[in-house]
């Protein structure tokens, strides 16, 4: 098989776009949060500043090889999701990345790659808060995945395929063909699960960002933190892109992509600024109530 340099070039370009868009979007969201809390907030370029600063710091310590590999796993997870996800569905097909290697199921399970690696790295850090954060994160994630899985099954029944590109293609031809109209229940279930996946309030106990530092990254600093931040920027956009592809008709150009991913991401920020935080047992139970029922209804409709 001949190596396709053009494909690689477009993919790397796409990654660059997604990374920068992710950084910008996180700045905007922090700004929105600040304004709601009657603060001024950060300048829009703050994430770039942070990145440069973190990568520049040279005084580093490590807790061992797995600790060192944690961020690599995490970042591979983010980039991998990007690689296996079609970004834009266009006639030329330049922006579909390496999604020809696997379908939606690959995406769903590859999410764990970064999570697991990060959890292990943080585990070797030896900080009790990391372990607590991971245990909460995993607990919550199992619950988040329930409505998501049901929604995905519902979609698979509806479109008779697990290929993301095919799902996007099936939604073309006008806004009324989008899954959010043709399968609203599944869309709602999935959007509720997205709240947990993006881990803003009320589902942000995993990192508890507002008070004591807790959660997997507790021990990570400087370059490690830089890598994690880079990943976060990519990952958030890619996750939003997944939902865009599945429920909101996908995108055929970067402008559409930016608008849609912004709105999807904004949904979780919006909810997060309005609601207080759940304890972990509450959030688990929450996902297993209304979102679960919605997911079941979504399947029953298409059975």
């Amino acid at each position: 098989m001949e190596f396709d340099f053009k494909k690689l070039g477009f993919t790397l370009l796409g990654l660059l776009i997604v990374l920068n868009w992710g950084l910008l979007m996180s700045a905007i969201m922090r700004k929105i949060n600040a304004r709601v809390a009657k603060r001024y907030g950060i300048p829009w370029y703050q994430p770039w500043v942070d990145l440069v600063k973190n990568y520049a710091i040279r005084s580093q310590i490590t807790h061992g090889i797995m600790f060192y590999l944690g961020p690599v796993f995490r970042f591979s997870g983010g980039v991998g999701l990007f690689l296996f996800m079609p970004m834009l569905i266009t006639a030329g097909g330049q922006w579909t990345n390496y999604s020809f290697q696997g379908d939606l199921v690959l995406i769903l399970y590859f999410q764990f790659f970064g999570m697991l690696g990060m959890a292990l790295g943080a585990g070797e850090g030896g900080h009790p808060y990391s372990a607590i954060g991971i245990s909460r994160g995993l607990s919550q994630f199992t619950a988040i995945e329930v409505p998501m899985t049901l929604a995905v099954i519902s979609l698979a029944i509806q479109y008779q395929t697990l290929s993301i590109a095919d799902i996007v293609k099936a939604q073309q031809g006008g806004i009324m063909n989008w899954t959010m109209w043709t399968n609203p229940v599944a869309t709602i279930a999935a959007m509720l699960s997205l709240l947990g996946a993006l881990a803003h309030a009320p589902f942000n106990l995993v990192r508890a960002p507002n008070e004591i530092p807790i959660g997997p990254p507790t021990e990570y600093h400087s370059t490690f933190l830089g890598v994690l931040q880079t990943n976060a920027a990519v990952l958030h956009v890619v996750e939003a892109a997944l939902f865009m592809n599945l429920f909101f008709g996908g995108a055929s150009n970067w402008f559409e992509f930016i608008v849609k991913t912004f709105l999807i991401y904004f949904w979780s920020v919006f909810v997060g600024t309005v609601f207080p935080r759940y304890r972990i047992e509450h959030s688990v139970s929450w996902f297993l109530k209304v979102p679960l029922v919605l997911g079941i209804i979504a399947i029953i409709i298409f059975m």
């Binding site: 961020p71 980039v79 290697q101 696997g102 070797e124 619950a143 890598v227």
Partner: protein
Amino acid sequence: MVSPFYLLGVGLGLGFLLGLTGKNSKKYTSAITFVAFAFFVFFSISWLIPFALKQVTETLIYTAGFLPPFSISLSVGFYEAVFSLMINSLGLLSILFLWKKINSESNALGGIILVLFMTLNMLVFARDIFNIFVWLEIAAISTSGIILLDKNKFSYSAGFKYLLASSIISSLYLIGVVLVYFTNGTLFLNDLITNASGVTMSVTAVFLMLIAIVLELKPFPANGWALDVYEGANPAIGAIMSGGVATASLFLLYKFSPLLDNKFSYLFVIAGLLTFVGSNLFGIKQDKANRLLGYSSIGQIGLLVAIIGFRPFLGDKFEFIAITILVSHFLAKAGLFWLSDVIKQDNIKNWSVLRRKPLLLVLFGIFVFSLIGLPPFPSFFGKWELIMMLSGGYKFAVVTIILVGSFIEAIYLFRWLGYAIKLDFSELPEYKFELNKIIPVVIFGALVLGAGYYAGNLICLKTLNYIPLAFIVLLYFIDSLPAYIKNTLSILALGYYSYLILPNLYETDMLRFIFAVIFLIGGIITLVAGYAYKGKRQGFYPVALLMYVGLALIIQAQTTLEFFFGWELMTAGSYFLIIRGKKSIEHGLSYILFSIGGAYAILAAFGLIYAETSDILLSSLSVATQNITLIFSLLAIGFMTKTASLGLHIWLPGAHAEAESDVSPMVSAILLKAGVFGLFILMIAMGHNPEAEQIGLILGWIGALTALVGNLAAAFQEDAKRLLAYSSISQLGYILFGLAMMTHLGWMSAMVYSINHFLYKSILFLTIGAVVLKVGTHDMYKMGGLIKNMPLAFIAVLIGIIALSGVPPLSGFAGKWLFYNAIIDKHWYFQGAIVFFSGIVAFLYLFKLIYSVFLGQLKDNLRKVKDISVWFAIPIYILIIGIMIISAKPELYLKPLGTMISGFYPNGELSWTGGLANAPYGYWNGSGVMITIGIMFSLLFLWLWSLSRKAQKVKQFNIVYAAEAPQRPETTHISYNIYAGYYKSIGWIVAPIFEKFWSTMTEWIHSVSDFGRRIYNGNGQYYMTHILIYMLAFYFILMH
């Protein structure tokens, strides 16, 4: 051929003479009696050989030239000779056993025993019903004489009760005889059978004679006196009672059975089955060894009485069934009573002293196995034929009762065996290892093995392969050699066996080939870890190989009998493997009970199939058309006890967790696949019936719920091996789910899971087992930070959990991907959603496992721990290579699997374009994903490394900790109850309802047993009343 009258002469003559000799000649009594018994045995053989060679036919012998009814007529035929040989050889060995006792007691003892055995012979031969009465009386008197051998109040009381009971019984018999003579004018049994007088016999007369013989056989519940006798008398006398007296009485019943019409057969069946179930049930609560043997003895005789009642249904198999079961009982019970006398322990918990002489423990195991009817003992074949014939006669209720009774018997026998194998005996007194007492036990042990071989050949026409079993016996004999020699031999044996069968299977049967690889190659790989063990490791290799032989036989089985034979061997071997664990006593019991229950379900199903097809070929499973829901359900339940599906899973966590480090992977990664293989056989047989769809639907739900409950429960464990055990439960749930779909993709996923589970669960169990050997605890919260000491183990577990979790790019993802496609294809959305949810829950325990053991804070007491043994690392890394290969090139095994499954389900195959697999709904390129992720991961790693290659490793407590440095790893390592919040939220799903259900069941059975056995209050008058009530009750049943 010696005339039986010489027997009479020698017996009576010598018996009385011995009583007359003086004190000085006492020391020769044993020798004289022994010679007399040697003559008895010679007598029996002199008859048996001509009969066996078919040189003579049945011979009638009359006294003093008179013809019946005036002569004492004796008849000798083949079966008479067999029974006489059994009785006389027991007598001979009893004398040997009692040698010193006879010499030290009064001279009369030897004489009494001689008279008793002579009488028993006469009971077998006599054809005159009054004459039989006389012999019954002599037998009763002499028996009560020897019961008094031990001089204590128990034996006196027992002897007295025995006399009372026998006199009532013989009175009943005598009245019957009188009435018969009154109506028919003859006492000659042959005339009565042929009805020479032309007068129909009075029902009451026949009833009285028959009920007397039945009562002689101690029917439940009119048998309190007998139990007291077994308990109070010397165990060696128990052996004579159980092996000799009961055998003769049974033959008496057999002799009278031609007199039976249907009504009487019915009576025998009721009396027998009631005894079989009732006696075993009441035995459950018993902890006195001799009394327990009494219960068991009475139960077995009850089964034989029922078999005699069923004679018309059993056709030409009757003799085979009756004799195999009787011989097993006869040899085993005598052996057990003798063992009881050797070790002089009445409480079954103290039978652990057997282990002082391992030979005795092996003999005990042999006897227990032959009582329960496990292969390769004769009763296994007897019970098999019995179930087949009864099923063939559509006696399903009876089959159920027999299986229930056998199961109850297994409960107490295996509990006893467990005590003997496991309990501590250091505090118990020593016992003498007297050769004259050991030789009889060894002879009977050898005989029961030989009889099993003979019976197996009779029934199977030599298709059973005994060479592996012979190898196991060899392993036993070299058990005193160092472990590594036996390990090498075992590996070579498995390797040779693989070489023999694998190439052929590869050509002919892919399904069996895959399972054979898992069983045999998996066996070799896990055995390699055995080199890590120092010393002799006594008893390990014979039982490990027994399990593998069983597994191999299942693969090769062509008939249901061979399958069941292999299945039971595998169960037996794995039981012994499991119970080797330090705290495994109760887990071993629960494992074997579930297994036996399951095996009986399978047996019942095979019986039902036989009933319809009259065929025992495995292929006839798919021919059955009647009762198929029942058949398939029974088979499914049977196999699901082995796969530990929800409800039948409670044995697994303890059994796997407490097993030794290299046994856990054997019983988890390999053994459980036997159940999967069984389910495959079942599903193939079910084909595409509408009923099959229904069963599949139920199995699918069971599988999905098993997966969920298993994974959730695993997440809440603190014991690393228990965690893995629960994980196995859930993985087997996935496999069951995939199988139950009965579609191409469903089976693909089930096969993929089976193979992968074998690989990663072997890795995980071996690694964790090896870690446990080093750190000395299973509790994860007591470990932590071991990555620094055990990098090899860490990498193995890391790869194991990534593969298990199904995260790409490792091989577990194939299963997940296939599942998604399969459930959408099958429309099993909700079950599927549960399966996926449980797949995600798996992350909880997988993280907990690797984190709590290897990450976090290293404990002070573990700072000097070394990496796992290289002998564990070798098999682990071989398996890892396997995982890596099938991860990088999944088409290597997915394509052949697809071809194989297309043979069963041609629709819905994967289509392949190079490495890209296309399913009906999705697509996946395993190699491509692996390469992409590999390149990306390496690049990112290099990038980070270029940025921070100067990173310095800091000390353990150098962490951001609220401005303090923590001092104690115990308080800093967060592991115990780490998912407390999760438990609060959905812990109710894993509430131990099934554990409660089974423990309530157990309690009920025990309560019933405990309450019921109070009717045996030790009062002789009550016992006599029982006998009369029993007789009257049956009389009324018969008359109506």
